[in-house]
Symmetry: C2
Subunit: 619 residues, 2 copies
């Protein structure tokens, strides 16, 4: 009877299922799996220096390529260290397969719930129950491959997300009959599972009817569409001929379609995107969970004259949406988009010319980089982003960290001609940028990966600067030096009268002098202190073949705008403007001209001169 | 009606309760708490660069001082980043109070279980339920201080551990009537809680009777005794006049009592400690959970001629222990020790002179540093440890990371005259050493804190090397350079025929060149490549007033011994020796002479020549 070691069959299975990269860190409890993966000719094992970084790399890998990577961690601190990466993938619906080593099965036999399992084991199932699509600790060798097959399926089905298979060390070493393994696995892979279909025919009819009755329809595309290939998505949307917004996570699904793309909406949205959102008379969201930063805080005021259809695969997210959202369709978004496309093809005479002309005008009148996005003494992060985006080629992948990199990156960069832009959008954990970029590079080493960070956030995964060097990854790392945590300084301005605490060097938060530090790691180092020098420095940065670091010195209190901010009325009262009225406030007549709905009363009430001068930036 | 902001009353409460240091990282969801703590004149806020490091620092702070520190993290990734530190404190029964910011309470009102709460919130209660003593998300402003009082009480009561109070941002900003706050708090603090008492009188009588009938009694002291002051503990044990072992976590409870201290036992125990453990006829464990590395794998062979009494405060740990442990007493260990002391004082004529003489002889014949602990080409970590321990003063606190630092540190260092030695013993997470040492220094900046690391493990908290510099902490950091993960190389030798995968530079795990790196951070740098140079280099290292780094080059495959290893019989069969028969195996006659019990059959069966030459090191 031919036998195979379970660890080896795991490696074989991963390779068979198309996994090519495994990010991991070895420990005594995953040593058999590590050995098998390392020995496997079709798998590449990438060792990073923190398990959080391994999961974030797998997140970036998927965002770049649409292919899953696996993560291999050990028991105890190995799997606890993975948590932030897992929750990040959970929030962003990114499928990641995490294999964790565990103490031997005999340690579970007594059902005793002592604080530790065996020597170093932790209760993986209970910790991860509410932040993974599935998590299971295996107890029999026969179970391992079946759980693996199930996890891989579940991770990629309907709303995607991370799955954990926890494998005790004795099971890794166990030997199974080869035929048994094959049969069990085939059965498991062939099992019929429920999978969401597209729109029900009555829902589809309603959507199409609404489109036929609409003067100003708008699509809002989300990350749930990522399963479709980029060119297919672009073809469908182009064919529909409908204006569309993208969520931040969906920003790089395909290159913007000139004349249809409305940009982003939200509390840090683009002015044009928000104005168009508020002006539409029909809003169809596809595969976006409508997070708060995206839809704003006041549902009743969202797209206030529009009929709204929400198409999403997660019933819990649909349930989350309040009364403003009457037409909620539980459906697979890629299928729904295809259905709508096909239905519309069959209809003659849909013509949205005036609405498209309005979009063109609004986009032109409201450029992404504004007058306030320049600074005589420092480099403004917005104008820098715009220049970097234009200078970079179509093979550029921008991976941002949080804070300045996130906000100015997603507000200004409109990745075109195959450029890519992503981050860990839902959890927004500081430190994602670097491992996310590493993952992106492993997914496609032909691309120019540009990692955008801030001086505060990079610290959270500082250790893996070494991995960039040791793995010879030609990563381009930008760091915005703003003396600490800029976003939180603005929070402090808004909620504790500007008092600083742990946000800059004067209040106890010190970031290192990156120049000698990154040189010691082995990076080339450039810096940029004046906007005038940016063209030459950006060129040198982009043309380098080596791992290179560019430190951009920005004003330590630079505003991150436009943004929705509490503002002051003529009578001195604080009020919340509607979503389309971002700070710094634009002149009322310009706002009115851009809207196809009447001005919101709060917009009329605001003292625009004071508010603009104050540059209020309440978080 | 006088009002107080909840965040300020939290800061006041912490200060009132004796908290002096708060380790934290700010985010938008804890900004009110951060402000209040930072402004409070009796609290010092220490900003580190990863939340895991904050919790580990609080762990080290408690281990150094017996005083609790608080940890202040934000919502989302802030609290998920804390997990490994929390589980480490949980495993070691270290009380830590963690305050986490959370999304506003309105985000909880709908009972909708979407993947994220509000913008970035996570389900703190479900993640932390099985690895904290208590975790609660507050929903009313009135609840905050009461939960805080409860958490502080629970963290320190019976078996200690971490507690989390999760405080939504709106509750932090809420204002409460001052009188209400005071009354509610007083009521909460005065509430009578169940707390474990000492030994029941019949249990105490049994223990004392057993002592009176014993020729060779042995105490095994654990971390559960840490609540007693060091000198009080030493007085009690000295007064009892009984030989004692300590668990690794209890190693620095008080300075060794010459003539009574038997050292450590366990799979990486000392030879003397194991021999004495196996020779005793009465074993009384006090406040130790008898982890596997401590008691070995085969319960039936533990102290095989002894009656065993186990005194512990955790019924789950007592329940974990199998049939070998018949006398299990649920009691507070410090109280039990005091009771035993007092009972014994009342008895005349207890005389263990021959047993004490045996202990003296065994300790002398089995020194901690052995002939195998020297290396002509490299520095051996054991002989280095011994020299460092002798050269360091009584004000030295050794904080180790894992791997070589842990094993050779705890096998060789016997902290005396007030020296201290600790780590995160239960979870054993790589990366603990640095933040643990930072915490120890904040707990007592008059001490000379020496942090012992390896090249692999330091990477897990590399970022906080900067905190050492920016906070002007005169930390002394040793790094054992052994090209990767030495412990796991030995695992690979044992279980995958020595194949390497992700454990050294040749198999994909690269560690940085620390010399330029730590200099860039701002450390002084020394290195040691030969044992002959160690005296001078150690002197220079210890005498420095600056943050200083000493890189010790050791053999990349150095054995970590003595240890319990699977060994080979004369017939070539693999067998497990008993706990007292550590590898490298000592001559059988010497082993026999040291034991007061007959040799174990497995010891007799081993081929000692082969095994010794092979230096087997199976994990």
């Amino acid at each position: 009877m031919a036998e195979v070691k379970v660890a080896e069959s795991v490696a074989d299975f991963l390779a068979q299922q198309g996994i090519r990269h495994v990010f991991g860190i070895i420990g005594s409890a995953n040593a058999h799996l590590f050995d098998a993966v390392y020995q496997h000719r079709d798998l590449e094992l990438v060792c990073l220096h923190h398990e959080q970084a391994c999961v974030m790399a797998a997140h970036g890998y998927y965002m770049q390529s649409g292919r899953m990577a696996a993560v291999l961690v050990t028991a105890g601190a190995g799997i606890t260290n993975a948590l932030t990466g897992v929750v990040g993938s959970w929030a962003d619906s990114v499928p990641v397969l995490i294999l964790s080593g565990q103490e031997a099965t005999k340690q579970f036999k007594s059902n005793n719930l002592a604080r530790m399992i065996g020597i170093q084991g932790v209760y993986v199932e209970s910790i991860y129950e509410t932040c993974t699509k599935s998590v299971v600790t295996c107890h029999d060798p026969e179970q391992v491959l079946q759980e693996l097959a199930k996890a891989l399926y579940v991770a990629k089905t309907d709303r995607q997300g991370p799955c954990i298979v926890d494998i005790p060390i004795d099971l890794q070493a166990a030997r199974l009959d080869v035929d048994f393994t094959k049969h069990a696995l085939t059965a498991s892979l062939n099992a019929t599972h429920h999978q969401l279909s597209g729109l029900a025919s009555e829902d589809l009819k309603q959507v199409v009817d609404a489109l036929q009755g609409s003067q100003a329809p708008l699509l809002w595309l989300g990350n749930g569409l990522r399963r479709l290939p980029s060119d297919e998505l672009q073809r469908l949307v182009k064919g529909l001929g409908l204006p569309y917004l993208t969520s931040w996570t969906a920003t790089d699904l395909f290159s913007p379609i000139e004349g249809l793309y409305a940009g982003h909406a939200g509390t840090y949205g683009g002015r044009a995107g928000n104005v168009l959102l508020q002006s539409c008379d029909l809003l169809i969201t596809l595969g976006t969970r409508l997070a708060i930063p995206q839809k704003g805080y006041v549902d009743d005021e969202l797209a206030r004259r529009a009929e709204i259809f929400v198409v999403d695969c997660d019933p819990v997210e649909l349930d989350k949406l309040a009364s403003r959202f009457t037409n909620k369709c539980l459906a697979d978004a890629p299928t729904a988009l295809t259905q709508i496309y096909e239905s519309v093809q069959a209809i003659a005479g849909l013509d949205f010319a005036p609405w498209l002309e309005h979009l063109r005008r609004v986009r032109q009148e409201m450029p992404l980089v504004e007058a306030c996005h320049h600074n005589a003494a420092w480099v403004d992060s917005y104008s820098f982003m715009a220049e970097l985006g234009h200078a970079a080629g179509s093979d550029a992948t921008f991976v941002t960290d949080m804070g300045t990199a996130l906000i100015s990156g997603f507000q200004v960069l409109e990745p075109s001609d195959g450029q890519r832009l992503f981050t860990s959008q839902g959890l927004g954990e500081m430190g994602y940028g670097l491992p996310g970029a590493i993952g992106a590079w492993f997914a496609d080493p032909t691309r120019q990966v540009i990692c955008l960070n801030c001086d505060g956030g990079l610290m959270m995964n500082l250790q893996d600067l070494h991995s960039v060097i040791s793995q010879s990854i030609p990563l381009k790392i930008v760091i915005f030096n703003n003396d600490g945590y800029l976003m939180i300084k603005h929070t402090q301005n808004a909620i504790v009268a500007g008092r600083r605490a742990g946000t800059d060097v004067a209040s106890g938060l010190s970031c290192p002098d990156y120049k000698p530090l990154v040189k010691a790691f082995g990076f080339r180092y450039l810096s940029l202190r004046k906007e005038d020098d940016s063209e030459a420095v950006i060129r040198e940065f982009l043309d380098s073949d080596d791992p290179i670091f560019l430190e951009v010195y920005m004003a330590p209190d630079q505003l991150l705008v436009p943004k929705l901010s509490v503002s002051i009325t003529a009578e001195g009262k604080l009020v919340s403007p509607p979503l389309e009225d971002l700070s710094p406030l634009m002149p009322l007549d310009a706002l009115e001209k851009s809207l196809l709905v009447p001005l919101h009363p709060n917009s009329i009430s605001l003292n625009r001169v004071v508010a603009e001068a104050k540059g209020d930036a309440i978080y």
